[in-house]
Subunit: 381 residues, 2 copies
């Protein structure tokens, strides 16, 4: 079976590696070059989206910021999972918030802002501090503002107005004002929904971000109540979208109550630990879902943490006795995710020790959340 992935980055690459054993042949449509490539070898297999669609049995996506005309072509082919609406929703904060309301899942109060009057209304209604996020193209902390006090309102509005004016998709672009949520931690839930409606949901993952970019994810200690909350919201969101494939939901954990922050209609960075830590990893389960195959088990088989490798960092081979390293074959560039490290253990406390041992080989500036994650695991144990 031939699967075309929209996007030729590391997620398509890891899908290709997970798909090969299933005899699934993955090609990737590189939206920048317009080429259809093999996502591991980067061999050019053809040119143009139409070519890619014609040769595919199934189409999926590795990111959500995709031009609407591309999504339309894919949707019209009848081969596209999770489909146009899910990708559009994941890539548009306005649609995303509307979906969360429709699905009836707990999420931060918000208001759509298209002009200064909306902005002033939001300040009055939501209160300060307030977070503002661009509806489109928000990614890794980009297109975000924080309004702490009323005297910053003019400055922040000036920034937002300039952003809206400069936006490529001015007709669909806007800003979403949201209440500032004082959360204890961020967790995410990754799960697959098959064409038969079956679900395979992984245990919750705890995430540590640095400067808006994910640094470390740890498959969380079992917490049946929290897991049940998350799964029920997953089910509601996935059903509302009639979703097929892997879906990621990021939550704020506010004293044991989960609030959906955002969704990603794709395999997700916070699910990379499943490659070593779960029975069947997120990449394989995504492919199983979109190809109409029965899902595999999402059971955690051992405590596992994922550490992102970001930018121009030094990763000595001395970590390798401890580490499962996953490089993306990407040139290092500041802020760019170029690989990740999965670390496994037989208990949460041993996992903490392993992360601490790992940190002795790595620079604390380059891997800022490693010790924090180790510390948290030790406290839990």
């Amino acid at each position: 079976m031939n699967v075309l992935v929209l996007g030729a980055g590391q997620l398509a690459r890891m899908m290709a590696l997970a798909g090969a054993p299933l005899n699934l042949t993955i090609s990737a449509y590189d939206v920048r070059s317009g080429n259809v490539v093999h996502p591991v070898t980067l061999e050019v297999l053809g040119r143009g989206l139409e070519h890619g669609i014609a040769n595919a049995d199934v189409i999926t996506a590795e990111f959500e910021h995709i031009a609407p005309d591309v999504l339309r072509l894919c949707q019209d082919s009848g081969k596209f999972y999770p489909g146009e609406e899910a990708i559009l929703t994941g890539g548009d904060r306005r649609k995303e918030k509307a979906l969360l309301d429709k699905a009836g899942v707990n999420n931060a109060r918000y208001q759509v802002i298209e002009n200064r009057a909306d902005f002033d209304n939001a300040i009055a209604r939501i209160g300060l501090p307030m977070i503002l996020k661009s509806a489109l193209d928000g990614y890794d902390g980009k297109g975000q503002w924080r309004l702490k006090s009323a005297d910053q309102a003019d400055d922040v509005w000036q920034d937002i107005e300039a952003f809206l004016t400069a936006s490529h998709q001015a007709d669909r672009q806007c800003v979403i004002a949201e209440e500032f949520v004082r959360f204890d931690r961020e967790v995410s839930l990754i799960g697959a929904r098959g064409q038969d409606g079956n679900l395979a949901i992984y245990p919750l993952t705890e995430n540590i971000h640095t400067d808006g970019i994910l640094s470390v994810s740890v498959s969380a200690n079992e917490n049946a109540a929290l897991q049940a909350q998350a799964e029920s919201m997953f089910d509601a969101v996935a059903s509302a979208l009639d979703y097929i494939g892997v879906l990621a939901i990021e939550f704020f954990d506010v004293n044991g109550t989960l609030m959906v922050n955002e969704i990603a209609p794709r395999v997700h960075n916070s699910g990379h630990w499943t490659q070593q830590g779960a029975d069947v990893c997120q990449f394989e389960n995504h492919l199983r879902a979109v190809c109409g195959l029965p899902l595999g088990s999402a059971k955690r088989v051992r405590p596992t943490a994922m550490v992102n490798i970001i930018g121009e960092v030094t990763v000595p081979t001395s970590i390798m006795p401890l580490a499962h390293v996953h490089w993306y074959d990407k040139a290092p560039r500041p802020g760019r995710k170029i690989g990740h490290i999965n670390v496994c253990a037989s208990s949460q406390s041993e996992l903490g020790e392993h992360l601490k041992a790992l940190s002795t080989h790595l620079s604390v500036d380059e891997f800022p959340a490693l010790l924090e994650a180790a510390e948290k695991l030790n406290q839990e144990a």
Copy 2:
């Protein structure tokens, strides 16, 4: 780092999949076509062994029946692991038996047979029944004879003589007569030896063959005494060869005493379970070893069995909730290994149940050892 594999079959393919996350680029020299190809996509990357060698940082092999001139070229490059002598030994029963004696490991009594006089001497010295194996090109039960009683001697000798005459490598070919070992079961040990001399050895695997071809491998229940015996022989053989890479040793288990049957200087079919069942799989540890990287842990993380998919068989997708399927992208042909299925569980007895459940989806004629393996696991539990 670029790794050239001699042979472009499923073992090279699985090395490529395991190597990609380490940023190891694997190419494969197809000895039949003379092309250098990508072992997953089969894209032709170049032509001729010299081309392949020039572009490689490291050379290794996926099989041992390789022409001596090919091995010599690789050896002369200074990049070849485990190297010419190890591959020649694995591909030549005469050299292999001499190695086992040199390493001082327990193995069946034998005699080299080049003519009728040798044959008659062997009958007298070793006794009947006797197994006869061609020194070269023996594989999956081919090039083997069994002499049960003296009255068959003339017929068997006629066969052997014809075989020797027809052999392509008449100067190196001969037949090895071996005592018939009444073993309880066949087990194998897979391990890696790094360039630093460190070892990473997997737990013993129990193997069930059907018509001389491996059907099912089960990572064996822990047995410290047996494991220690096997590891000590592994160490002796690997040291005698100054071996680097993954080495497989097949043993007869005779009432708790192990006797080496044969070695394979490569990743091995009976180690495929490590893809799902061990911390770091045999393919990755082989690459780590030959590339001079630190080895990863060979610890078993869960009970796992491997079931070969051989020939023109039917494998319904209904097995997939239970199964990790690994297809080799090969056209089915009688007797040809075209894939394997890994099955995992949280205990040996659950593994038995899973194999039994798997067998309800598969034909007993096509997967003859499945129920036997399930039965054995249930008896052990």
